[in-house]
């Protein structure tokens, strides 16, 4: 087989895939690098019996405070994990399995990330009944839908804060209030909202909240789960061992990773408003450029969305060709997180898009290091390529033989 897929074009690609993962902020990289140096805090944070261990532990605890502060939580409610996939699974499988004898009904939405969907599918295999809420064409699940779905044996509701494909924001506080009122545990996947929206677990009545560092300029491979402690929420760990993290998550704590996440979240919260303002302007500039092409439509709610994400469908251009034509841009179609399948995005399908339009949709996601020049070059490339491909597209009157 000839393999020949890397772009022959010369210019470096324009990175507009911040929702898939962000570069590490240089300020974050700096504190991580300090940890990796020979004179760094290389001890095992569990080795409290000696200074190198305690030094590492102190850094882990500082980071715990940073992450906790960014979501309005107490530090002891933060459990370190390997990322949001693990956090989602720990929250969902953990709570449902712990309380299985109290009820086996659980609720989530069809547009959740795979990490949530697949955890719920696992629960189905374990005998739980799942209510899969369908959002409106704007991508939004109304809190009343949750209220209507609640039953006396409902154990858990899970709803993401910001959708990774469309950037649409859910009314998690609205859902949280309903769940709290009914005494049902409420989990929020906030992988895509940290540093983009204010987060407060108390105000939002959230019991469990999943975070990951690599969507917010921190390192890949570290995340956290917020777990309400008062009153305590029973949770079964996913795996077992040294008993770190109060037994909820065993395994040696990766100091440099945790320190990076702490720093990233502190910066993310401190710079949030200015970051968001800047990115919103760039996003608007991109949107204006794209609409000028014609035959484009926004996927998801026009205003209930985070600043950085623009998911757009292009009429009259086939998806795979569009993506290949745009390979000077690092953008994504469907979820970048599910390893490169060619299927139409289940999220866009749930929003009522046809297979074809879903496949001709592109997610542009902007971030802290995106420049106006990036945006202008992206607009130029998209305009040129869409026009070029559309020129080859048979017109409607050609139909039939």
């Amino acid at each position: 087989m000839n393999s020949m897929s890397s772009p022959a074009k010369s210019a470096p690609v324009i990175y507009l895939d911040y929702a898939a993962t962000t570069p590490v902020d240089p300020r974050v990289a700096e504190v991580m690098i300090e940890c990796l140096r020979p004179e760094g805090p290389h001890g095992n944070p569990s080795s409290m019996g000696h200074e190198p261990g305690r030094r590492a532990r102190a850094l882990v605890e500082k980071a715990r405070q940073q992450v906790a502060a960014s979501i309005g939580a107490r530090p002891e409610c933060i459990v370190w994990t390997s990322g949001a996939t693990e956090s989602d699974n720990l929250a969902i499988l953990g709570v449902a399995r712990f309380h299985a004898d109290r009820g086996r009904h659980v609720i989530t939405a069809r547009t959740e990330h795979k990490a949530v969907l697949d955890a719920f599918k696992q629960l189905e295999k374990e005998g739980f009944e799942v209510t899969w809420l369908k959002p409106g064409v704007d991508g939004i699940v109304r809190p009343e839908q949750v209220r209507d779905a609640l039953r006396s044996d409902t154990q858990l509701v899970s709803l993401m804060h910001v959708n990774n494909e469309t950037g649409v924001i859910q009314d998690v506080a609205g859902v949280g209030a309903i769940c709290r009122e009914r005494g049902v545990a409420f989990h929020v996947d906030a992988a895509q909202s940290a540093g983009k929206l204010p987060l407060n677990v108390e105000a939002m009545n959230v019991d469990l909240l999943s975070l990951t560092a690599h969507k917010s300029y921190g390192p890949k491979g570290v995340g956290a789960l917020y777990v309400r402690r008062r009153p305590p929420l029973g949770l079964k760990p996913l795996f077992h061992g040294g008993g770190q993290e109060l037994g909820l998550r065993s395994g040696t704590l990766p100091t440099h990773q945790i320190v990076g996440m702490g720093e990233a979240f502190e910066i993310g919260e401190r710079d949030r408003e200015s970051d968001v303002a800047r990115i919103a302007v760039l996003r608007e500039r991109l949107w204006q450029g794209l609409t000028a092409i014609g035959g484009v439509e926004l996927n998801g709610h026009p205003s209930e969305r985070v600043a950085g994400v623009l998911n757009v469908c292009f009429h009259d251009v086939e998806g795979e060709s569009l993506r290949f034509a745009l390979r000077e841009l690092a953008v994504s179609s469907g979820s970048a997180c599910s390893s490169g399948s060619d299927e139409a995005s289940y999220v866009l399908r749930a929003l009522g898009r046809s297979d074809q339009l879903a496949q001709s949709s592109i997610r542009f996601s902007l971030g802290r290091f995106t420049t106006a020049d990036d945006v202008d070059r992206a607009i130029a490339i998209v305009s040129r390529e869409v026009a070029r491909l559309r020129a080859l597209t048979p017109t409607a009157d050609s139909n039939g033989t």
């Binding site: 086939e318 490169g340 297979d355 017109t395 033989t401």
Partner: protein
């Protein structure tokens, strides 16, 4: 995994030959197959003179392999007689462009478009 494209596919995708179509008129034939809804569609139009194809244009909606196949085909068909055109087989395009296995079905749509073209030509001849 991202599908992989051979250099020939990339070349034709980037620089499609003979895109577009001829205005309907004397000596112009057309062959259409597939549809946008299906995800793959080809429109071939050709100008024929005496018993040979003089030139071909294509429109295509589909993956890069399909676009490339349409482009490539416009060069291949020039000079063919009607029986030769009728005998055209998808394997020729497959050999030239190395379609991945799971995309072979799309070549059958291309073959259908060629067949429609040849039928249009047949209708023209009497």
């Amino acid at each position: 995994m991202e599908p992989e494209y051979s250099p020939t596919v990339v070349d034709h995708f980037e620089h499609p030959r003979n895109g577009g179509r001829f205005e309907a008129g004397e000596g112009v034939i057309k062959g259409v197959a597939g549809s946008l809804e299906q995800g793959t569609m080809f429109v071939l139009s050709a100008r024929v003179a005496a018993d040979r194809i003089e030139s071909v244009r294509f429109e295509a909606y589909g993956c890069p392999h399909c676009i490339a196949a349409g482009s490539w085909l416009t060069e291949q068909l020039v000079g063919l007689t009607q029986p030769e055109l009728r005998a055209w087989h998808w394997r020729a395009a497959d050999q030239a462009l190395q379609f991945p296995m799971q995309k072979r079905g799309r070549l059958l749509i291309l073959e259908d478009a060629v067949r429609a073209l040849s039928e249009a030509w047949a209708r023209l001849i009497p």
